[in-house]
């Protein structure tokens, strides 16, 4: 009987173990990014901007030219990169603390200017790297180390829905929210990522994909339960789908 390889490591993905916890979604999103860069033949033309968070070591796993941005500033750094090298493919990879809290100004204005960059946004509803503090995306009632009795709407506000906000900005060509908890969602996620990359390559504007992701360690859950939480708790508040797509006219005013 001959063996058939059904599943290969994308070339830009380094052949090494990651530092991510078991059940963490970062590895899956890394793979999707690497696959899409390869599929679109962008690997040697890419300049990545890594952000501060668990994924700061992006450059240890995705083998493309990379510059490390200060916490939250990746969209500004990416703006500088793209303006300096307009013919290169530029993407940022950011967590929800990084993008939706300290980096809120930078992401909004980068999108609004319609910078030809793509943003991979990993929303795990928590600050992973610093040990599980409340994020702007933490769900109401969710317990974290800085909202130990659960996020309270009255004092901490409601979780921020970034994909919808980004979709409302004029420079955005594509804004979508996806999840990586099931095969069906993975396939949708890959398509969305490709689109967010394509709008940049085709010069249409800013591309944005929000990935609903797990953080089993800081959620204090098993990997399996964490994966289930995406469908049970996150998707009801953070609906999946495209919120803007200039190629189809969706969400364009």
């Amino acid at each position: 009987m001959t063996e058939k390889i059904a599943f290969e490591r994308p070339k830009p993905l380094a052949d090494r173990a990651t530092h991510y916890c078991p059940g963490c979604s970062h590895g899956i999103v890394h793979r999707l990014v690497a696959e899409t860069l390869q599929d679109m033949d962008l690997v040697e033309n890419t300049i990545a901007v890594s952000a501060i968070g668990c994924s700061v070591f992006l450059y240890n796993y995705i083998m493309v030219d990379t510059v490390e941005a200060p916490h939250g500033r990746a969209p500004a750094v990416a703006t500088g990169v793209k303006r300096a090298r307009p013919d290169r493919f530029v993407f940022t990879y950011q967590g929800d603390g990084d993008l939706a809290s300290i980096g809120m100004a930078e992401i909004m204005h980068c999108a609004n200017r319609g910078e030809r960059v793509s943003v991979v946004f990993v929303n795990n509803t928590i600050y992973g790297m610093t040990g599980g503090q409340m994020a702007p995306t933490t769900l109401v009632g969710q317990k974290t180390t800085t909202c130990p009795s659960g996020r309270c709407r009255d004092s901490e506000g409601m979780p921020i829905r970034m994909a919808e906000i980004i979709a409302s900005l004029g420079g955005t060509a594509y804004a979508s929210r996806v999840a990586v908890d099931t095969i069906k969602h993975l396939n949708q996620a890959k398509k969305a990522l490709r689109k967010a990359f394509e709008v940049q390559v085709n010069g249409l504007g800013f591309g944005f994909v929000e990935f609903l992701a797990t953080c089993p360690t800081n959620w204090k859950m098993s990997s399996i339960d964490a994966n289930k939480r995406i469908a049970e708790e996150m998707i009801p508040y953070f609906p999946l789908g495209d919120f803007k797509d200039v190629t189809t006219g969706k969400g364009v005013c």
């Binding site: 690997v43 033309n45 500033r73 703006t79 303006r83």
Partner: protein, 353 residues
């Protein structure tokens, strides 16, 4: 450097012309008085030069855009004034840590806080001692007139690339807003190979590159800090200063930037009376021209440091002279506009005349 075309322009414009001449291709700004002429000029000049101008959402963003352009090895600049430069410190620290070249202009205004929009030298510490976090240094150039603003801006780009380090231009509201004739030249052709061994271009036909300041592996950060320290030490050779009438001087007044310029007027006046006074004007504030001060001290001269703040550079003067001599100090408070008359009395007093 310049081809002799003379323009009657403000110090701010001289900085912008200098950047253009040095091959600057990306400018990132944010409005703040008294430096608005620079982004306004660049918003017109950059597109014409085939470059890019971005009015950023904040100085935080502008400086991080600089970081991004610098990572690509493209000559880039940002400018601001004191409150804005405070916001740039994050990116400056990351650029120093990641060894990225870029030029940051500060047209110093009065502080602390919102202060005023008039001249001040209150940002000496912030500029020279490292305004951001971590153990790092930036070269600091302090022009005293509009021609120098042009020349030193050109030099700043070369130094930034020579040392792969941020370079600060420290002017003030006087320099930014005063007009003088300045010789300007055509833009130089920047060597395509500049930054060739580190810049990000997409990893085509070569191993991929990482520009970062995070060093978590055992021993890695210590090694990095030692490497940076050696680099900062090697910058010593860039020391620049002006010595005016110091040869036979009994008293040497130490002052930089616009204040050095005003003190020069005082020196000229007192010289006409036969008083033996001179001016020592540091042009590089980092590296500080300590060795030249030591030589003057060894000749037995006395010193008076004059600043447009309540005492900052005086610390470097005293450190330089340590064990050999001391320096008197006259501080003119930010908030008021100094004239030669303001400095004449303190200089006479230090002379004992």
């Amino acid at each position: 450097m310049s081809t002799g075309k003379k323009l009657f322009i403000k110090g701010n414009e001289a900085v912008a012309y200098g950047a253009l001449a040095a091959g600057c291709k990306c400018f990132f700004g944010y409005p703040i008085t008294p430096q608005n002429d620079i982004p306004e000029f660049m918003s017109k000049a950059m597109p014409k030069a085939g470059g890019q101008f971005v009015q950023a959402e904040s100085e935080v963003a502008a400086a991080n855009m600089l970081l991004g352009a610098a990572a690509c090895g493209v000559r880039a600049m940002t400018s601001s004034s004191s409150p804005g430069v405070s916001l740039k410190q994050e990116a400056i620290s990351y650029m120093a840590g990641s060894e990225l070249p870029g030029v940051i202009v500060n047209m110093n205004r009065g502080g602390p806080g919102l202060g005023d929009i008039g001249p001040s030298q209150g940002d000496y510490f912030q500029s020279v001692k490292g305004g951001g976090h971590g153990d790092y240094r930036t070269l600091v150039l302090a022009p005293g007139n509009c021609q120098e603003a042009y020349d030193l801006t050109m030099l700043a780009f070369d130094l930034a690339y020579k040392y792969t380090n941020p370079v600060l231009i420290l002017g003030d509201a006087i320099l930014g807003q005063m007009k003088e004739p300045v010789s300007v030249g055509e833009p130089i052709a920047v060597d395509e190979a500049e930054g060739g061994d580190w810049k990000l271009t997409g990893a085509k036909g070569r191993p991929y590159r990482i520009l970062k300041s995070l060093h978590l592996e055992e021993g890695s950060l210590a090694e990095h800090n030692l490497k940076l320290a050696a680099k900062y030490e090697s910058m010593r050779g860039e020391v620049r200063f002006e010595s005016f009438e110091t040869k036979d001087a009994e008293l040497v007044v130490v002052a930089y930037g616009s204040i050095g310029r005003i003190v020069k007027t005082v020196v000229r006046k007192l010289r006409q009376e036969g008083l033996k006074v001179g001016l020592f004007r540091p042009i590089t504030l980092y590296p500080y021209p300590s060795a030249a001060l030591v030589e003057l001290a060894q000749e037995g001269k006395r010193f008076l440091t004059v600043e447009h703040n309540m005492g900052q550079m005086i610390e470097d003067v005293r450190l330089s002279l340590c064990g050999l001599a001391d320096s008197a100090f006259f501080g003119f408070p930010p908030g008021n506009m100094p004239t030669p008359e303001d400095f004449e009395q303190p200089v006479r007093q230090a002379l004992g005349r």
